[in-house]
C-alpha cells in the first residue's frame, strides 16, 4: 500500500491533496467532510482586506445619516474587521474542538502593512496550523515599478514572520518578469512553502451590453499547464517546498505535478465539480498508480521529471512553436 504522506506548510500531511482557499472550507461540517474524504489539509477562505473595506462601504451607505452619525461610522471598518476575525476565530476553534486533526491553514490577502500584521496575528492566535499569504500585486499601476512590487512582497513576508511563530507559506501568481529568480529568492526568506499559481477571477465582456461581467469561475483542466512548467523549472532551485494549484482535476495531473517537483497540490474546482468523492478517488488512484509503478513513498515520486531530472529540460522553457521542434499537423485532439 503506497505511502501518501508528504510535507508542505512546514507540516506533515497524510495526503498531497490540499483543499485550496475557497468556500469549500467555510463551515465546520464542511471541513470535517473534507477530512473524512481524505484531504491532507484545508486552507480557509481568504480574509480579504479589500472585501472588508467593501463591506464597510456597504454598511456605511446603509447606515449613514450624513453628519449626524459620521463620528459613529468613522472607524466602523474596525468593527467589521474585528467582526470578521471573530467569525474566523469561532470557525477555527469549533473545528479544532470538534476533533479535526488535519492542519487548518488560514489565508490572508491585504494591501496595507498594518492589516497584514493584524490578521496574521489574530489568526495565528486562533490556533491555525499555518498561514498562507495570498500575495499578489496587480501590475496595472503605472506608478509602481518592478522594484517597488518586489520590495512589497519581501517586506510583507518579513513583517508577517515577525508577528507569528507558526509556519508562513505564500501563494503567488506568475506575473513576474524575473519569475525564476523571484521564486528562488522568495524560497530563501524562510517561508514554509510556495504555491504556484493563484488562479484569477477573470473578466469577460458581454457584447450585447458592452459591460464587463465575471468570466467562468471554475478552472478548466488545461489551466494546469502553466503551473506544471514552472514547478518543473524552479523546484530544483527553490529552497522550500512547492505546491501546485489550478486545473488539477484528475489523478494524472496530480502525479504530473509531483513528478515536476511539487510536494503537494491544491484543488478546488475538482471538488466543486465532482463532490467529496473526488478527494477519495484522487488518493486511491494515485496510490494504485504508485503500486503499479513500484513507488512505495510519495517522496520517491517528487521531482522525478523536474528540470533537473529529465533528459531534455530545456523543453520546460520552450514557448515558441517551431517546425523543427514539432509543429501542428492539423488534427490535434483537444
Amino acid at each position: 500500500m503506497a505511502n501518501l504522506t508528504t510535507r508542505f506548510f512546514g507540516l506533515d500531511l497524510k495526503s498531497p491533496i490540499i483543499i485550496g482557499s475557497s468556500g469549500l472550507t467555510s463551515s465546520v461540517e464542511k471541513i470535517k467532510m473534507l477530512e473524512k474524504f481524505g484531504a491532507g489539509a484545508v486552507v480557509l477562505k481568504s480574509v480579504f482586506e479589500e472585501e472588508i473595506y467593501a463591506e464597510f462601504e456597504d454598511e456605511f451607505n446603509k447606515q449613514s445619516i450624513g453628519y449626524a452619525n459620521q463620528e459613529y461610522l468613522d472607524y466602523f471598518d474596525y468593527e467589521i474587521k474585528n467582526d470578521k476575525v471573530k467569525h474566523y476565530l469561532q470557525l477555527i476553534s469549533e473545528a479544532k474542538s470538534s476533533g479535526v486533526k488535519i492542519p487548518i491553514v488560514a489565508s490572508i490577502n491585504c494591501t496595507s502593512g498594518s492589516d497584514w500584521a493584524f490578521f496574521a496575528r489574530k489568526l495565528a492566535s486562533a490556533g491555525v496550523d499555518a498561514l498562507e499569504l495570498n500575495l499578489f500585486v496587480m501590475p496595472s499601476d503605472v506608478e509602481r515599478d518592478a522594484l517597488a512590487v518586489r520590495n512589497y512582497y519581501f517586506n510583507t513576508i518579513k513583517k508577517v514572520m515577525t508577528e507569528v511563530s507558526i509556519p508562513v507559506a505564500i501563494k503567488i501568481s506568475s506575473y513576474f518578469s524575473d519569475l525564476s529568480l523571484m521564486i528562488k529568492d522568495l524560497s530563501e526568506t524562510g517561508v514554509a512553502g510556495i504555491t504556484l499559481f493563484n488562479r484569477f477571477y477573470n473578466v469577460d465582456i458581454d457584447i450585447d451590453t458592452k459591460e464587463l461581467v465575471p468570466a467562468k469561475i471554475l478552472s478548466y483542466p488545461f489551466e494546469y499547464l502553466e503551473s506544471l512548467r514552472w514547478i518543473g523549472i524552479t523546484s530544483p532551485i527553490a529552497k522550500c517546498d512547492l505546491a501546485a494549484s489550478t486545473g488539477i482535476q484528475d489523478y494524472q495531473t496530480a502525479i504530473k505535478m509531483l513528478m515536476a517537483g511539487a510536494s503537494a497540490v491544491q484543488v478546488v474546482s475538482g471538488v466543486y465539480k465532482h463532490g467529496y468523492d473526488f478527494i477519495e478517488e484522487m488518493n486511491k488512484s494515485i496510490s494504485k498508480w504508485m503500486d503499479a509503478n513500484n513507488y512505495e513513498n510519495l517522496n520517491d515520486l517528487i521531482g522525478v521529471a523536474s528540470s533537473k531530472s529529465v533528459k531534455n529540460p530545456t523543453l520546460y522553457q520552450r514557448v515558441q512553436f517551431m517546425k523543427h521542434f514539432g509543429g501542428f499537423t492539423g488534427s490535434e485532439e483537444e
Partner: protein, 492 residues
Amino acid sequence: MTTLEEYLKDRREQEWRVELRKKLKGKERTDIPRVHMPEVDPNERVKYQNMEVNTGLSKEQAIVEASRCMDCANPTCMEGCPVQINIPEFIKNIERNEFGEAAATLKQTSALPAVCGRVCPQEKQCEEKCFYKTKLNKEAVAIGYLERFAADWERESGSISIPECAPSNGIKVATIGSGPSSLSFAGDMIKLGYDVTVFEALHEIGGVLKYGIPEFRLPNSIVDTELENMKQMGVKFEKNFIVGRTASFDQLKEDGFKGFFVGSGAGLPRFMNIPGENYNGIMSSNEYLTRVNLMNASSDEFDTPVLKGKNVAVIGGGNTAMDSVRTAKRLGAERAMIVYRRSRAEMPARVEEVKHAIEEGIEFINLANPLEYYADETGRVNKMRLQHMELGEPDASGRRKPVEVEGLESEIDVDLVVVAVGVSPNPLIPACLPDLKVSKWGTIEVGENMQSSIPVIFAGGDIVRGGATVILAMGDGRNAAKSMHEYLSENN
C-alpha cells in the same frame, strides 16, 4: 388641519412680526456682522474642568443678533433643523425683547433647548441653510447662540413656564434610560396625562448629557434644572434600576406598566484590538469621561480616581475625542494630542470644539493611526507606534480614504491613551429580550413610528440609530410618545 407651511405663514403674518420686519431695512440687517460668543480666555479656562468656555450672549448682543434674521417667507433654516423648531418665531421674539415667549416657542418642539443650543452641530444643520450663508455668502445668523440665550434666560429668570398637563389617565409607562431621547419622551407623555417613570441604571439621571459631555461644554446644573421641571410635572425617576436585571419586563408589566420606551443609548465602548491595548493607562473614552464627568474624579473631594498623564494621546476625531483631549489638558497634560487618521478638516467634531481645542493648545497629529502600544515594567503604557497615512481616493463618506504610507512609522512617548473611536449600542436590553428584533450591530429595529417588533416596546435615540446627535434622539423621543399614545389609545 393646517400643514406646517400654512401654520408658519399664519404665524409670520401676526401683527407683531409684520411690524418687527418693518422696523429695520433689509440692508440695515445684513450689514450687521455676526456676533462673537464671549469665551473665557484659553489660558484661564484650561485650568478648570468645570468652567464653561462659552459664557453666553448678553441681552443686548442677543437682540442685535436676532435683528439680523430676515424672517424669511421661506425659512430654509428650518429645513436644516432635524425637529423643525420654529426658528424665525423664536428669534423674532428675542428681537422684540420677549425672551419668555422665545423660550416657549422653542419648547413647543425641543424638550431641552438649553442643551441643544450648546451641543447641536448648527454649522451642519440650521445655520448651514441660513439665507445669509446660502444667498449672501456671509456668516449665518447665530441660531444656536440665540437658542441658548433664550433657554438660559428663562432658567435664570426663575420663571420657567411649567406646561399644562392633561388630567392623569392612570396609564403607567416607563422609559429605560434617562438620556435625551427618554427625557424627551417622558416630557411629552406626562403632558398627555400618563403616569411616567424614568428608569436609570446609573446613580445620576441624564445619560450621556451627564456622563459624556464635560462641564466645560454642558454644565450638569443645566440638565438638573430640566429634570427638576419634569419632576414638578410629575415624572418619576428611579435611579440605580436596571430594567431586565433589577426587575424584568414581565415584573414591570405585572406592576401595571403598559408601554416601554427604550432609550438605553450607545454606551458600549469600542477598542481597536491592536497589541498593547490592555496596558494600564489605556482606556476607552467612556471610562475616562465617566470618571471625570459623572464621578468628578478630577476633584479631591470625590473618591473616584482618574489617571493623569503628562503625554496624553486621544485616538479619534469626533466630539468625544475633543471632549477627552480637552479634559486631559485640564487635568494637567503637558502634551494633549489628538491622533486621527484623516486630515483635520475631515474630523467629524463640531467646528466650535475644534476651534476651542486649538486655542487651548491641543496638538493635532493628523494622518496618523496607532499600530501598537508599549509599556514599562509595571504594565503602564509609555510609548506608542504610529502609522502615517496619506489621503487616497474618496470613500463612501465622500472624504478621501486614509491610505498607509508603506514603511512610514514613528513613535511617541505617551503615559495615557484614550481610545475615542466611537461607541456601540448598549447590549443590556436586547440581551434580556430574545424576541426583540435587533440588527447585526446591536441597534433595535423600529418602524417609522419608533415601534419595535414587540408592540408595547418603542425605542429611539442611539440604541436605534447607533451614535448620533442629541437633537435626533430628542426627536425620536417625541415621535415615540406620539406613536405610543396612539397605540395605547387604540388598544385600551
